[in-house]
C-alpha cells in the first residue's frame, strides 16, 4: 500500500535579467523525480548539497509551488489526492497528515515560546481542546524521552539534541501519516546524532512511522531507512533496498558516496574512489549523464546520451549506461 507516489516532479526556478525581467534561463533544481513511499516505510533521499533533495521535500510539503508533475498522497485509505495541483486553500486541511522535522534545531523552535506551547501549537491550530492538549504534550515529551518539566522552559535552556527532540515531538503531535525529516541529525554532534537516530528507530517501531529521510551522506541512512534513493543534480540516479545498495551499488555516484562513508577499519582505506570536482550547476547541467565529468567509468556515450532510470532487478532502479557491466565496490 503506497502512502505517497511522486511522479515526474519538476521544480524549476526562472533566471530573470534585464529591465523587463525576461526569463533567460532556468535552474532545474528538481528535474523529473519519481519515487514512492509505502505505508510504514522509510525512504532515504541522499545526495550532495545542491542536488535538489531539500527542494523535493519542500515540494511534498507544498512549502513550494511545483512546476510540474504529480504528488499523490493517500490522505484517506486508498484515496489519493494530488498535492501538486491542489489549490493552497485545500492543502491546509491536509497539512496535519504530513509533518516535518527540521535540520537546524536552533532555528526551528520559536525562541519566544515555551517548549510546551511549541509542541502544542499544531494541536491548538487544529482545534484540540486545552485539557486534551496538556495530556498530549505530556505524552509526547515522554515519547521523545524528555523530562516533563521541559514544557515550562524556553528553548534556550536546551542543547541541540534536546531541541531536536522537541522538534520531533512537535512533528508527531498530530499523528501524521508521513514525516519528512530534512537532515534531522546533520546539525548535531556525532554522539548526539546516534541518540536521535536511536529515537527515530524507536518511534518507527512503536508508531509505525512512514518517513522521508533526507540526508547528505550515507553513513546515517543505513540504520533508519528501508530503501534509499540517490539524487544527483535534480534527478534520481539509483533506488534500491538499503542492504542491496550498500552491498553492491549500481551507479558510480553511489559508489563514490559509499567511499565517503568513514570506515572503522584502516586496512580498507586504500581503494577508495571519492568523486573529484564539484556538483554540476543545475542551471547549466552537462549534456548526457550529468555525472560524466566526475565519473571514472565514463565512456563517449555518457557525454551525449542521458540515461533513463530503468528497473534492473527486484526493486532496484538505476540510470547508468554501464550498470550491467561495472562491478562497483560497496561496503560491508
Amino acid at each position: 500500500m503506497n502512502l505517497l507516489e511522486v511522479q515526474d516532479l519538476k521544480k524549476h526556478y526562472p533566471i530573470r535579467a534585464g529591465l523587463l525581467q525576461r526569463e533567460v534561463g532556468r535552474v532545474r533544481a528538481v528535474d523529473g523525480v519519481s519515487f514512492h513511499i509505502a505505508k510504514g516505510e522509510t525512504l532515504a533521499l541522499v545526495g550532495e548539497s545542491g542536488c535538489g533533495k531539500t527542494t523535493v521535500s519542500r515540494c511534498i510539503l507544498r512549502a513550494l509551488t511545483v512546476t510540474s508533475g504529480a504528488i499523490r498522497f493517500a490522505a484517506k485509505e486508498g484515496e489519493f489526492v494530488d498535492l501538486a495541483t491542489l489549490p493552497k486553500r485545500q492543502v491546509r486541511p491536509l497539512r496535519r497528515h504530513i509533518q516535518m522535522i527540521f535540520q537546524d534545531p536552533y532555528a526551528s523552535l520559536n525562541p519566544r515560546m515555551l517548549v510546551g506551547d511549541i509542541i502544542a501549537e499544531p494541536l491548538k491550530v487544529n482545534g484540540v481542546p486545552a485539557a486534551e492538549r496538556r495530556d498530549r504534550v505530556t505524552e509526547l515529551l515522554e515519547l521523545v524521552q524528555m523530562p516533563p518539566g521541559a514544557r515550562s522552559r524556553f528553548p534556550h535552556a536546551f542543547s541541540g539534541g534536546q531541541r531536536q527532540r522537541v522538534g520531533i515531538a512537535r512533528a508527531l503531535a498530530l499523528n501524521p501519516k508521513l514525516v519528512v525529516a530534512d537532515e534531522p541529525v546533520s546539525a548535531l554532534d556525532v554522539s548526539v546524532q546516534a541518540q536521535i537516530i536511536n529515537l527515530l528507530l524507536d518511534l518507527q517501531d512503536r508508531l509505525g512511522l512512514s518517513m522521508l529521510f533526507v540526508a547528505h551522506d550515507l553513513s546515517v541512512v543505513r540504520h533508519v531507512s528501508d530503501r534509499v534513493a540517490v539524487m544527483y543534480v535534480g534527478r534520481i540516479v539509483e533506488v534500491a533496498p538499503t542492504d542491496a545498495l550498500y552491498r553492491a551499488p549500481l551507479h558510480p555516484y553511489t559508489e563514490a558516496l559509499l567511499a565517503a562513508v568513514p570506515a572503522p577499519d584502516p586496512a580498507r582505506r586504500g581503494h577508495r574512489r571519492i568523486a573529484q570536482g564539484d556538483v554540476a550547476d543545475p542551471a547549466n547541467p552537462p549534456p548526457g549523464c550529468a555525472f560524466h565529468p566526475r565519473c571514472p567509468y565514463a565512456i563517449d556515450r555518457c557525454r551525449v546520451d542521458r540515461p533513463e532510470l530503468t528497473p534492473v532487478s527486484d526493486g532496484r532502479w538505476v540510470s547508468c549506461h554501464r550498470a550491467e557491466e561495472l562491478d562497483l565496490a560497496g561496503v560491508r
Partner: protein
Amino acid sequence: MSAAALAPPISVAEDRYAQATQLQLTWWRFRRHKLAVISLFVIALFYGVAIFADFLAASDPHATDARRSFIPPQGIHLFDANGFNPHVYGLRGARNPRTFQLAYTPDPTRKLPVRMFTRGYAYDLFGFIETDIHLFGVEGGRPGESIFLLGTDQLGRDLYSRMMVATRVSLFIGLAGVTLSLFLGVLLGGISGLYGGWVDMFIQRVIELLRSVPTIPLWMGLAAALPRTWSVLQVYFAITVIISLIGWTDLARVVRGRFLALREEDFVIAAELSGASQGRIIFRHMLPSFASHVIAATSLALPAMIISETSLSFLGLGLRPPAVSWGILLQDAQNIQVLSGAPWLLSAAVPVTLVILAFNFFGDGLRDAADPYG
C-alpha cells in the same frame, strides 16, 4: 537513555534562566550596558520635567516685563548671618550712560528668601488639576521680582521657566511624531514585506523618492504652505505630520527587512506546516520576534524627530511664538549682537544635546539587548 538521564540537573539559578521570558532576557542584557542605563535615567528625568513643567517653573514663562530684560543668571546664596537661609539679592537696574544698556547690580541689602512650594502663577497640573503651587520661588519682594536661575531674555521672561515648558513641547512633539511614523512605518513596511511583488516594489520606490528629497527645502515648502491663520495647536499638529512624513521611511525599511528575514525562518515555516492561519503566524510568531527591533529603531528615531522640530523652529518654519520649544528659545540666540550681550540665551542648546545623546546611547543599548538570542 532514560528520561531521567537526560533531565538536566535543575538548580535555582538555571531554572530562572530557563523560564526567563524575552523581556527578562532583554532587561538582563540591557543592564550590563552602563551608559544605556544612565541614559535611561536621563530620559526619564527629562520626561519627568516635561510632565511637571509648570510645577518646576518659577515664574510665568509668558509674562513679559521691559524693565527686567537681559538679566544675567542669578546665584542662590544659601547662608546669611542667621545661618541657613537660601535667598537671592534684589536687583537694581540702571542704564549705562555710555552704551545705554540696562545693567543690573545686585542689592545685598534686599534679600529675597527662596522657599519651596510657593504660590505663583496659576496653571493646570496634568491639564486638569487647577493649582498655583510651584516647586520653588521667592517670597515677598516687589511685583516683577523673582528668581532668574538662567537669566531672562529680551522681553524679560525667565529663561529657566521657559526652558521647563519648552521641554514639554519639544519632547512630546518628538513622541507624537515618532508614534505617527511608527504607525505608518509598521503598516507600510509590513505590507511591503508580507506581500512582496509589485506592492513591495512600489512602496520601496516611494521610500527612495522621499529620502532623496533634501529635507530642509521640503520642510520649508510644507511649512510655508501652512496658513498663517492657524492656531498654535494646529501648527503644532501640522509640524508633527511634516516631521513624521520623512521619519516613517526608516522604520518601514526595518519592518520590511524583518518580515522578509522571518518569512524564511524555520519556525515560521513550521507554524505554516502545522496549519496555522496567516494571522496567527504574523501575530504569534513574526511580530513578537521583531517587536524589540522596532522599539530600538523607534528610540533611535526619536532624537531625529526632536532635532527636526528644533531646527525647523530655529529657522522660523516650525512652531511660532507664543508657543515655547527648544527651537524657539534658540531662535533668540540667532543674533550675534544679542548673544554677545546675553550669552546665557544659548543654554537652551544644553538640554537638546543632552537628550539627543541620551536617546542615542539608550537606543544603542536597547538594540544590542533586543535580540537576546542573537
